[in-house]
């Protein structure tokens, strides 16, 4: 950078124009087991009748349990042409118009109202503070671009979603410094762990710009306690950094009362210098099970951030067709209330099914109360409580049991033997089959 480079006029044609460091780096993280398991699934996917011995995908956090509710709603309320808004075909004209990075007002209002509903009205959301992005992935990356400069760091509690390695670091040049959590206190963030992470960064001469948490947590499948949130906010104020809360699973908490959003904490604070450091990421991919739609948002209490994010969202806008399609659905409070309630119920049931099923085979899970997955402890099966040991076991589970689950090490968990198991992206029957395979595996192991 800035150094004189000798670029001779080359007469020979053996020089291929090189690519950038970003292009050739592996910071996209797609070589990790997290993604490798997906490949195995793609090559041999389970199918009830066509391929009953195929790989069951339990590494993808997708919500298919409440699809029927969406389908019914869309078909009943919206016969042909509805996808363009209530006006039918003529509404298309508005659709195709220049995509304003402000997003359709009706859709932003619908999102704000939906987010309020999920939090049981305990926090208000101003539609003008909502910035739309093509998915939460883009929202997290965009926030990172805005809050941090290259070579700065974000503190992220472990274990965390493997995608963060890409979303937060790849193009932004920002580092992740982990806040280590362990099972001694159910992986909750402690003030000591926070300080320690901060100090680690300072010792390495790295400037910390913020803390990024996922609440409810992925992969733990548990909500963050209110006390912890308050501690985090205090910490952010003391160190004068940002606090980003990725609440993408907020609608998937089994009991609404057990979820505290950082928005609730901020709601009662008047001091702008405190509020301004809080930002929330949300998406419809998990709660509504519409990942393909790519609808994400950044909600910020900081005017500067909102303004910048809005302009930068030019790179990752949500199509107006999608916004129209969902605007009326999301602002239909009767429907959303019903959906949220039933979705929570079904997820809870699924969770209980899998946890009970695992318990019967002697496997314990972390006590969870949210999300599309459970955090399973197979530490007792490891001969070596090391990363290699864990990956060996993961490989066995993939190859022998044909189950694709995610190893804790790919989530940067320092305690080895934990695995994330998704349960919402399959039918109940398939879940049963998966449990059966685990049961048989455990039986076999016990015999030896």
């Amino acid at each position: 950078m800035g150094l004189p480079m000798m670029m001779e006029r080359s007469s020979n044609n053996n020089n291929v124009a090189e690519l950038s460091r970003v292009a050739v780096s592996d910071t996209h993280g797609e070589d990790s087991p997290y993604f490798a398991g997906w490949k195995a699934y793609d090559e041999n996917p389970y199918h009830e009748s066509h391929n009953p011995s195929g790989v069951i995908q339990m590494g993808l956090a997708e919500n298919q349990v409440s699809f029927d509710l969406l389908e019914t709603y869309l078909e009943k309320k919206n016969p042909e042409g509805s996808m363009w808004g209530s006006k039918g075909a003529p509404g298309f004209r508005e659709n195709a118009l220049f995509q304003d990075y402000h997003g359709l007002t009706s859709f932003r209002q619908a999102m704000a109202s939906f987010m309020e509903q999920i939090r049981g009205g305990k926090a208000r959301f101003d539609p003008d503070r909502i910035v739309l992005t093509a998915g939460a992935t883009a929202a997290n990356e965009l926030l990172t671009f805005i809050l941090a400069d290259p070579n700065d760091a974000l503190l992220v509690p472990t274990p965390y979603y493997p995608g963060f390695d890409r979303d937060l670091r790849w193009r932004t040049g920002v580092k992740i410094v982990p806040i280590h959590c362990d099972s001694s206190n159910h992986f909750q963030i402690t003030p000591e762990a926070l300080e320690s992470a901060y100090q680690t960064a300072r010792d390495a001469n790295i400037r910390v710009r913020g803390v990024l948490i996922t609440n409810p947590s992925n992969p733990l499948g548990a909500t963050v306690q209110k006390k912890v949130l308050e501690d985090l906010l205090d910490f952010s104020v003391r160190k004068n950094i940002h606090l980003v809360s990725d609440e993408i699973y907020s609608g998937s908490v089994f009991h609404a009362s057990e979820f505290t959003s950082v928005a609730e904490i901020v709601e009662n604070i008047d001091d702008v210098s405190v509020k301004e450091r809080v930002h929330i990421v949300y998406s419809l991919s998990k709660d509504l099970g519409l990942p393909g739609f790519r609808v994400g948002t950044i909600y910020s209490y900081n005017d500067n951030v909102v303004r910048t994010a809005r302009r930068m969202s030019s790179f990752t806008l949500v199509s107006s067709q999608t916004q129209h399609m969902l605007a009326s659905m999301l602002s239909d409070e009767e429907f959303t209330e019903k959906y949220i309630r039933i979705n929570r119920e079904r997820l809870r049931k699924r969770y209980e099914t899998i946890v009970e099923g695992l318990k019967k085979t002697g496997i314990e899970c972390l006590k969870g109360n949210a999300g599309l997955f459970c955090w399973m402890n197979l530490g007792f099966l490891l001969d070596n409580k090391t990363k290699e040991g864990e990956l060996e076991l993961w490989d066995v589970i993939l190859k022998e049991l044909k189950l694709n689950i995610s190893p804790g090490s790919s989530c940067h968990c320092l305690e080895f033997g934990w695995f994330r198991v998704c349960f919402a992206n399959m039918s109940e029957k398939t879940l049963d089959i998966a449990l059966k395979r685990i049961h048989e595996f455990m039986d076999r192991r016990r015999r030896f």
């Binding site: 292009a23 042909e80 075909a89 195709a96 118009l97 220049f98 805005i146 400069d149 193009r171 999608t322």
Partner: protein, 555 residues
């Protein structure tokens, strides 16, 4: 106005810097001369060079330290100020705000690294800081591009509802012939062939469904009148041309590198290429005397000037049909550009988003860069990357679907991964697949699109000519590049902005001044005619006539 304020503060700061440097220099000279007199021969030569060098370096060090202390102080000043929001809410400097806030906004004109220091208070208790990027984004909000846009949003023209509103001539928005006809004929298909939501809701490859790629490839092939056959597997779909250009910038250049961009160019490049990547743009000015064609001599000069300054050029970005002129690059020109890229071992990004909107072909045909490299060796094909945008050709701007076409497998591989951050929405993909794959519809649509662009263009150009305003010959795209130098009060950037202001506030039309397109000659304006219906043109002409009269009476 805002701009002049920032300009003024910028120049006064640089003045003081200059005087400081000048002072250091002359003192140095006074020391060297007597020294050389004292020590003769090689020793003298040695001392004569070392001492001033040492002096120079120590002086710079001293300056740097002092500058840092200054900025630390002002940083602390900012944070200790009681206003929690030390950057104004509206993004415009507000003269009524507290002194420290005023100080901060003044300084947004300074180089990025300095402002980054200023934005980061050294102690807690102050407003939390954001990244250096934020500054350039917010500063950009003062440009005519955004100001005009805002005015249109606040007071949009409507033939019946708001006949005195601001007419949008700034943006490429092709909304006259939309999919309405098709949708009315095929309402069921409009909802993606009755596919249940199940089929379109799950995760799909982020770089687009193969079916859609095939359709897009077909469309691109048609735009070149079948002289090139585009391979769908070399396509990466993303949510807009901005994203496509940004992705390519990330893939082809490192932070601190630069692209050569012939100007005038699209105002969007400043954002797409620079905002988040840390990559810079080096403008290569084209002149009206050359009809704004790219001069290889000027290109060469720009390349070597950059090299001398230590800036590594990674590629050149061309647009064909060009924005804002709307001209088609000739085959010779394209070959020359490829030679240029080959000799310097750099990439070419060919922005062909208006390839399907060619409306006048009498003086030449559209030739895609893909056709030029068709017969070249692999090594050269791999340096060419094409950007295409469905939205421009099909009036689907809201649907956000553009494409990168490359012959370089590594670029494709990296781009594919990057599209997770800017993918095309699934229902949109399905809609496009069903819409575009009806060949009869596509044929009809493309033809009527071209005819309409042609007639509106002709009307507009004639209207402008009647007012004494000439335009360059435009063959494709949605823009007229108009010579309004005769209407300026002074031949300068200031004169251009004044005229732009008049057009916006008196004429109530939003046009893009040449400075937004980085045109080196003031007085040129970009008119976008894709929004206009035939009946709108006389209205626009009347508005401009009013402005012309105002200008003439003032001059």
């Amino acid at each position: 106005m805002t701009r002049t304020e920032t300009n003024r503060s910028r120049s006064s700061n640089s003045n003081s810097e200059n005087s400081r440097d000048g002072g250091g220099g002359t003192t140095g000279m006074r020391i060297i001369v007597p020294l050389q007199g004292v020590v003769q021969g090689r020793g003298g030569l040695f001392l004569g060079s070392v001492i001033p060098c040492a002096f120079f370096y120590f002086f710079q060090f001293y300056l740097k330290r002092n500058r840092k202390n200054e900025s630390d102080n002002s940083g602390e000043q900012n944070s200790s100020a009681s206003t929690p929001n030390s950057v104004s809410n509206s993004g415009f400097p507000d003269p009524t705000r507290s002194q420290s806030a005023g100080h901060l906004t003044e300084l947004t004109g300074l180089p990025r690294s300095l402002s980054r220091i200023l934005l980061s208070p050294r102690h807690s208790g102050g407003a939390v800081s954001v990244s250096g990027r934020v500054n350039s984004v917010i500063k950009g909000g003062d440009s005519p591009y955004y100001v005009g846009q805002k005015r249109v949003e606040e007071d949009p023209y409507d033939e019946l509802g708001n006949p005195d509103g601001v007419i949008q001539l700034g943006l490429a928005q092709n909304n006259k012939l939309s999919l309405d006809d098709w949708v009315l004929e095929n309402p069921k298909e409009a909802i993606s062939d009755g596919l249940s939501i199940c089929g379109i809701a799950s995760y799909e490859p982020s770089d687009g469904l193969m079916e859609l790629k095939m359709v897009v490839a077909g469309f691109m092939t048609e735009a070149t009148k079948n002289s090139v056959s585009f391979d769908p597997s070399q396509l990466v779909l993303t949510s807009g041309a901005s994203s496509a250009i940004e992705i390519l910038s990330f893939c082809l250049a490192d932070s601190g590198n630069a692209f050569l961009v012939p100007t005038p160019c699209s105002p969007g490049y400043d954002r797409d290429v620079k905002w988040r990547t840390g990559v810079d743009i080096i403008h290569v000015p084209c002149r009206s005397a050359d009809n704004f064609n790219i001069s290889m001599v000027v290109l060469d000069r720009a390349f070597y000037q950059a090299k001398k300054r230590g800036v590594r050029i990674r590629g050149i970005i061309i647009s064909n049909p060009s924005n804002p002129m709307g001209s088609l690059l000739s085959r010779e020109n394209l070959y020359a550009l490829l030679d240029f890229a080959r000799e310097r071992n750099i990439h070419i990004i060919s922005n062909e988003i208006f390839a399907g909107s060619v409306h006048h072909e009498e003086d030449g045909e559209f030739v895609s860069m893909a056709e030029i490299v068709d017969t070249e060796e692999n090594i050269d094909r791999e340096r060419v990357h094409i950007v295409y945008d469905l939205s421009k050709d099909l009036s689907f701007p809201g649907l956000r679907s553009a494409a990168i076409y490359s012959f370089n497998e590594s670029v494709l591989s990296a781009s594919r991964k990057l599209t997770t951050l800017s993918p095309v929405s699934s229902p949109t993909q399905h809609l496009l697949i069903s819409a575009i794959s009806k060949p009869k519809f596509v044929q009809r649509f493309v033809n009527s699109n071209r005819q309409r662009l042609q007639s509106t263009y002709t009307l507009l150009v004639k209207g402008l000519k009647d007012l004494g305003i000439e335009c360059t010959r435009s063959n494709g795209g949605f823009y007229c590049w108009a010579d309004m130098r005769g209407l300026m009060s002074s031949y300068s950037e200031k004169g251009e902005i004044e005229l732009w202001n008049k057009l916006l506030n008196i004429g109530k039309i939003n046009v893009i001044p040449g400075s937004c397109c980085h045109c080196i000659e003031p007085g040129w304006f970009r008119f976008c005619f894709s929004n206009l219906s035939e009946s709108d043109v006389p209205v626009v002409m009347n508005r401009i006539r009013k402005v012309c009269e105002t200008c003439k009476s003032q001059n």
